[in-house]
Symmetry: C2
């Protein structure tokens, strides 16, 4: 049965970057891409998981609007964010005679949009780019902010450009085909946006409707409110000098956990732990105690078990995290995002090793408690 909300609700947010662009959240919007994107040639970059479900309707809509479409499938997964894949896509555009009046579209998750965005930013020094995110993470995170990039053998996301899309089209009904684990991974960033700026989201993720095949109108509202939080922050800080650092809530520990485990722990799971760690650090400083609420959410996410690491295993990676390196390096300069209370993030430059140790111990105790409950 068709969800009645699907035909009625469209939310448009304008992201105030230079130049501004619109994010449309609308059930069924993938079939109307041609109305929003116009160029003589369009390269549609997608991956082998997503394309079988959604590429055809996008191609049909673009072709209906008169575009010549070059379909560029890439392998699913992080390995596609390589210099080799980047070069292959650029050569494909050149062979098809793309000019700077043409456009690149990303249909997929974060890997596809990071890669396609960097192709768009670099081919002839920049083509129009539009993102059609299909994972919850890409909808609420990767598709807004203008960050594009690929990996080097030496590390992730070391190469890229800030390149704002002309438009972002989000069809929340495509979440039905997303694996449950990826849905929960995206929910972690959505929950983070709730902590930073919108308590409604903290409540929304606890509702029974918050599921991959939930009511379209509810998913539209939830996704749009999460996008709105990120868009507001990005608009205030396009190139990541100031308030954009708030988006790193939970990410300082998460990056260390990912690095220390050679990414065996997924990003979503790592950030889930990172958010609980930030809540514990905040509470220990006498800020509002949100650990209970965050812990309940983490239990729902059901991340892979916390790796058996000591804080000493993590400290070198914490010190190296590029997001909080300052010019004069040194432990005292590390910047942690904490919460004075929900919607009031603060940047703390004076978190001591003693505080980190206490929070790490508290995190492990808390997780043991969660396991008790779920048994």
């Amino acid at each position: 049965m068709r969800d009645p909300g699907a035909t009625h609700r469209r939310i448009t947010l304008t992201v105030q970057t230079t130049p501004p662009y619109d994010v449309h959240v609308e059930p069924g919007v993938l079939a109307r891409v041609g109305e929003a994107v116009s160029a003589p040639n369009v390269a549609l970059i997608s991956d082998e998981n997503v394309a079988p479900h959604y590429a055809e309707r996008v191609v049909r809509s673009l072709a209906g609007a008169g575009a010549r479409v070059t379909f560029c499938p890439v392998a699913a997964g992080e390995a596609s964010k390589s210099l080799t894949q980047f070069g292959a896509l650029l050569s494909e555009l050149a062979r098809k005679g793309f000019t700077r009046h043409d456009a690149v579209l990303a249909l997929g998750g974060g890997v596809v949009s990071d890669l396609a965005g960097f192709v768009a930013a670099s081919y002839m020094r920049g083509l129009a780019f539009a993102a059609l995110p299909t994972s919850l993470l890409a909808m609420v995170d990767a598709a807004v902010g203008g960050k594009t990039g690929i990996n080097l053998p030496e590390g992730k996301n070391l190469v890229g450009a800030f390149w704002q899309p002309r438009a972002v089209l989000i069809d929340p009904t495509v979440l039905r085909t997303l694996p449950e684990r990826e849905f929960r991974a995206g929910a972690v960033e959505l929950f983070k946006h709730g902590l930073l700026a919108d308590p409604w989201l903290l409540e929304a993720v606890t509702r029974p409707e918050f599921r991959r095949d939930g009511p379209a109108a509810f998913l539209t509202e939830t996704v749009a409110r999460s996008v709105a939080v990120k868009a507001a922050i990005v608009a205030r800080d396009e190139r990541e000098g100031g308030v954009r650092a708030h988006l790193n809530l939970g990410h300082t520990l998460a990056h260390a956990l990912e690095a220390a485990t050679q990414h065996r722990l997924s990003h979503g799971d790592a950030v889930a732990y990172g958010l609980l760690f930030a809540a514990l650090l905040s509470a220990a400083r006498g800020y509002a105690d949100e650990t209970e609420r965050v812990a309940r959410f983490v239990a729902w996410v059901a991340p892979a078990p916390l790796p058996e690491l000591s804080l000493d295993d993590l400290l070198p990676f914490i010190a190296r995290d590029k997001k909080h390196l300052s010019r004069a390096r040194g432990e005292a300069q590390q910047r942690w995002v904490l919460l004075e209370r929900v919607t009031s993030p603060v940047i703390a430059g004076d978190v001591t090793e003693r505080e980190l140790r206490a929070a790490w111990t508290a995190l492990q105790a808390r997780l043991a408690g969660l396991e008790e409950v779920s048994r």
Copy 2:
């Protein structure tokens, strides 16, 4: 004997891009790079022709200012503008632990600054970049404008970014070590700047002091005035939508000549012919007749002989030139830069094939005349 001008004359131009930056033209400035560039880590990218002459003084100046310098030599020549070399440099920066607070310097000609600029634009989505151009072409052309990029197997400069340098430091005394052919190739763009906006330059290139080892004060003035022309145009049109097209004076035919000869004809020689072609097209339209002055300059440049091509050989390449493709393609839409008179360029969208044929015939006749004179 030391040129007395060398110690006294420094010309600083501010290029009004976003953000603005300074171009310093000053004899001996390479030994004072450390005063202008400050970063914990500096990657100095240079080529094997230039580095033996000038890298040591630059490294010493940077080290004296407290920077840790990573010296990155690349092979001389266009082949270094490859995705492979790009990746190798990015990996080198990653291995040395470069962060977004560090800087990339280009010491060399256009190949080095295009490549190094794109590395700076892309590593961690953008580091500080400074250019130390050592060829006349790079001084008056490549180092100002923010264009960076590399080649694909499918074509030149198909990949890149607009990335403005933090500073450009030009030491005109380094022209002594430049091959004469390259000096004259650079003079072609300098002469073009004279035609577009500064008649003083047209006179300057005819003086006996206009030589690689000419008086430092005169070379400083000449280079600075040429940079000023390009800087003024670029500042009005940072991302190449409007008046920046004037810089393509002579380049539409030049690109076709280069493409039709698989780049056996050098860019400088091709533009020399292109400028004369533009002068002939302009005169035939009843605009001011500058063909005599341009022909005398071309004789001094002494380009390699014009390839034996018919206009029909060139037309397909003229139609394909990316610089004058408009959205609705077709011959009528081709845009040629002509001169109403010196300092008054105009964009003509209505140049007919008949006009092109007449100018091509006139060009060949004019060149035959020049050969007579020089015999």
